[in-house]
Structures are given as structure tokens and as C-alpha cells.
Assembly symmetry: C2
Homo-oligomer: 314 residues x 2
Amino acid sequence: MSVTVLAPATVANMVCGFDVLGFALAEPADTMHLRLTDTPGVTIINEDDFDLPTEPTRNVAGGALLALLREAPGVGIEVRINKAIRPGSGIGSSAASAAGAVVGANALLNNRFSKEDLVRFAMFGEEVASGVQHADNIAPCLYGGVTLIRSTAPLDIVPLPTPPLWVTVVHPQIEVKTADARAILKRQVPLPTAIRQWGNVGGLVAGLCLQDYNLIGRALEDFIVEPVRSILIPGFAEVKAASREAGALGGGISGSGPSIFMLSQEEATARAVAAAMQAVYDRLSIAQFTYVTRMNTEGVRVVRSTEQVEIPLF
Amino acid sequence: MSVTVLAPATVANMVCGFDVLGFALAEPADTMHLRLTDTPGVTIINEDDFDLPTEPTRNVAGGALLALLREAPGVGIEVRINKAIRPGSGIGSSAASAAGAVVGANALLNNRFSKEDLVRFAMFGEEVASGVQHADNIAPCLYGGVTLIRSTAPLDIVPLPTPPLWVTVVHPQIEVKTADARAILKRQVPLPTAIRQWGNVGGLVAGLCLQDYNLIGRALEDFIVEPVRSILIPGFAEVKAASREAGALGGGISGSGPSIFMLSQEEATARAVAAAMQAVYDRLSIAQFTYVTRMNTEGVRVVRSTEQVEIPLF
């Protein structure tokens, strides 16, 4: 028996919702083929050109699968990975590997684990990638749409209603180290600034729930993290201004960068935003990739199984 | 022509939503009778026993009406006030006077002003009360239900969907000066604490929009203001623990105190919470008033007009 899964890219740190709000993209997505093997343990086969480690303890999908197998002893899983999400892009490449792997493995195991279990397993994959177990990208990757991490201890993930939205992402070819992006943050926030930020968090969540695009746009403003982190991304201010000019509702840094995302209500706007972003980086002579895509609203998807026509995910 | 209005009590600083979330109570409410007079200006007549100033510039309703009359020159308004909301209780007594007065005056003037205008006028009333123009109580008093103040400059009020909820309020007979309650706040917040707080703000807004009572309960936690302000309210920790024990979803300090509010899903629970609160203050030999009430979902209400059967509010 084997399954194929599609694991979507994700945006964490959704503007004002630093560390709590994220969402999934319809594209790009990693494709992974998984099958049960007779030999207990994890086998990783990379079918892309990213040259990631195949030793399971050093591979993100491997770390997640090893965590799952600790609760499914004796099982052997082989995973062939075709990554489409570039590592280091800031759109949840490692989360897609981790979440995709455990959803695929769970499908092979008759979905014996809950979604909460899968989040837990996948966070071990994130630990391989960054040394830290976090669910910022795992949550939207597994649930789809916009997710709120209300609390990390205990972990409390709230999937939010997600109105139709288009996303434009630009990935400029520069490196932003997550460690640098962390180190640059101010450790103390003035209370009035924190209040403005949570006013926007409340506004953004309300805008999503009420499908109020104007409110979503007004609430997409970050007074705390973006002002310091955007310094690490050349062209950030220009991209933001040009995107708003082109009609975007708003947006900001994806994860800890370097990718920048913008939300739009219409596809045509999202494409105009992409052109505006490209123009900025062309002027700066910085190569970039851009994506224009809808939000993904279902999370990791099992697209093919040799023994079942359709596998209910959860 | 004359009108009678009912202006509800309100709770500002709704737990995690310090300075941004508030809501209106069905009871208690102030009753105000307003009529047009031939003499331009404002006449205040107090019909209760609170001995508040009748000089318009020193009276909260007067301050709000004078602001309105600056945009309706030549008009004369008399207001007779029967306050049921005790001044200094922390449940929006001054906001009720200000908001009730301008809604009544607007009804007499064929609703020539928008709701946004009325908020603006009523904030001058708050300035008479506390020296500061703020909308923390004005917004829920005028809109009803739970309101989010996403931003104060520019003022952006978002009325939220409000599921059926019962409210228990205890008003212990102690004095908490707003100035003291302000001075005790810490001016800087550690970033991780701010993140936990806005996770809860997002969770509370989502819980209200999705009618998810369990989520509302989980999100009703304040890591920033309550730990310092509750020191000013004897019995606070005991009231909170006893209320949760009695089945309340959660709650906290109303405004800057001394009142404490708790939300419940059922009336019976709300009454059990009231008994638990009373028991705490009886043990401490502190006199108190308690209220068990629904949320008010319509804001200030025009209940009677001599010349029209019903006045559309806005």
C-alpha cells in the first residue's frame, strides 16, 4: 500500500499576529509518496535537487516520522520526497515536509492518530530544522486556512473561518537567518504599542470571521515586529507601498523572511501586486520568485492511494 | 416633543482585551427624559440621589450635550436624569449618562447625527468625568453587545457578534481611584507575555464570532493588567476562584474596578456565581451589590416618545 500527499506552503507570523496567526497556500506544495516497508524504521529518498540530508534523524520528515513511530512500534515507512517549496524561503518548507510525512504515514496506518497527535509529531520535524518545536507553520499546514495558536502550553489551535482570499508571495533571493531574525526582536514592548497590536489581532480575527475585507485590510498592520525585522529585507518598504498601491489589502513578512506576502480580494489584484513586487526587485537587481495563489483551506491532502479510492483524512 | 431613553451599564477592559474589548449589560440602566426647550443650551435636572453637578460643563451628560449642540446651534435641550448605575462602580456610569443624553437628543433632532458622531460627542462627557476622552464604555453603550475598539486614532469601532451570555457583576463597596489603577500599570510588557495576551484576544474574538463557549472560557485570561490591578481589589482572587468553581466561563475586573464581572452560559450558573461572590464579601465583611443579567445587544434604547410611536435609532 502507498499514498501520495500534497503538503502546502504556509505563512506564519501573519502581520499583527506574530507567533499566533498563520495560513496555508494552495501553491507551492511538496509532493510525497509514502509506503509501508517490511523493515521497521524510516527510509528517506529525495527526488528533488535540494540535497537535503537522508539520515532520518537529520531530515525534517524523518524527525517527524520517527516521533510518530515511537507510538507505532515495528512499523517501517519509506518516503520519497519531491519538494517544490524552497528551503529557507520563509514559507514553511520544513513544516510541509514534517506535516506531509505524518499525514501520509497516518493514512497508511488507517488514520489511527488524531490531528492533535499529528501536530505533536510534526513539531519534532521542526525541531530538526530549527532546534525549536513550534507549530507556527505546522498548524496551518495541517488544518488549512487561517489558524490561530491561542496558546502554546497547552497547545490550543483554533482553525478560523477563512473567506476567499488571493495571496501574492515574493521570495527575493537573499538569506535571512532565523537566528538573526529572532535576535533583532526587542524583548520589551511599551504597553500602548501592545494594546494597538492586540486591537489589530482582534480586528483581523473578526474580519476573517465576518468576511469583512475592509476590516481585514485595516487590521493588517504590525507595530512591533515588522519595524525591526524589515530592516533585514532589502526593498521591504518599497514592496509594501507598491503592493498597497496595486490594490492589496495588506501583508508583511512571511515567517521570519525573506519572503513577503500580500493578500488581495481578487485574482487580478493579486497578479498586479506580483508585477509590482517584481518591478521593485528588478530595480534592485535582486532575483526573485513570485507566487500568485489562493489560500489552501483543507491542509495537507492525500491525493492518491493504491488500495483505497479516497481516504478520509481525519 | 420629548423622549425617554434607557442607557445601559457597560464593562470595559474585558479580561485579555484591555483597552479594546467591552460589552453592555441589560441591567442596570439609567433612565433619562429629554425634551426640546425654547432657550438654547443645556438644562440638567437630577431626579436621583447621587447629587451630581447640574452645571452642564461639570456634568457628564451636559458635557456630551454641549458637544452635540456645537453642531446644532440654537437648540435647547432639557434632560431629567434618573441614574441607576452608581458612579464609581466601574461599570460605565459616566458613559451611560453621556451616551444616553446624546442618543436622546439625536432622537429629538430627527436623528440628524450618525452613530460615529454620537460616539464623538459622548467622549466629551467622558472627559468631564475623568479628564480623558475615551470610548472604552461609550462604544458598547451605544452599539450594544461586545465591541472591539480596533484603533483609537483614527477611532475604529467593530461591533462583534455576541452569543447569548449571562453576566454576574459584584460591586464591593470599596473605592478604586482610576488614577491609582492607571498608575499601577507596568509601562513595558515582555514580548512573550504580549504574545500570550494577543493569542487570547484572537481566541476571545473567534469564540464570540463562532459561538464557541469553551473557547471563550479558555481565552478569558489576562496576563498583563489583572495581575497588578487585582491587588487594589480585596477578595479578587477568592471571587475569581469561587466563580470558576460555580461554573463561570471566566471574567475579571470591570473597567478599572472595583466591580468584578463573570460570564456564564446559563442563568442558573450566573445566579450560583452571584451567591459565590456574595459569600466571599460576606466573609470579608465588605458590603456589595450584585447583578445577574443578560448582555444588552442593542445599546441605548429610546423607549418612549410623545410624538412618534417608535423612533428608528440609526
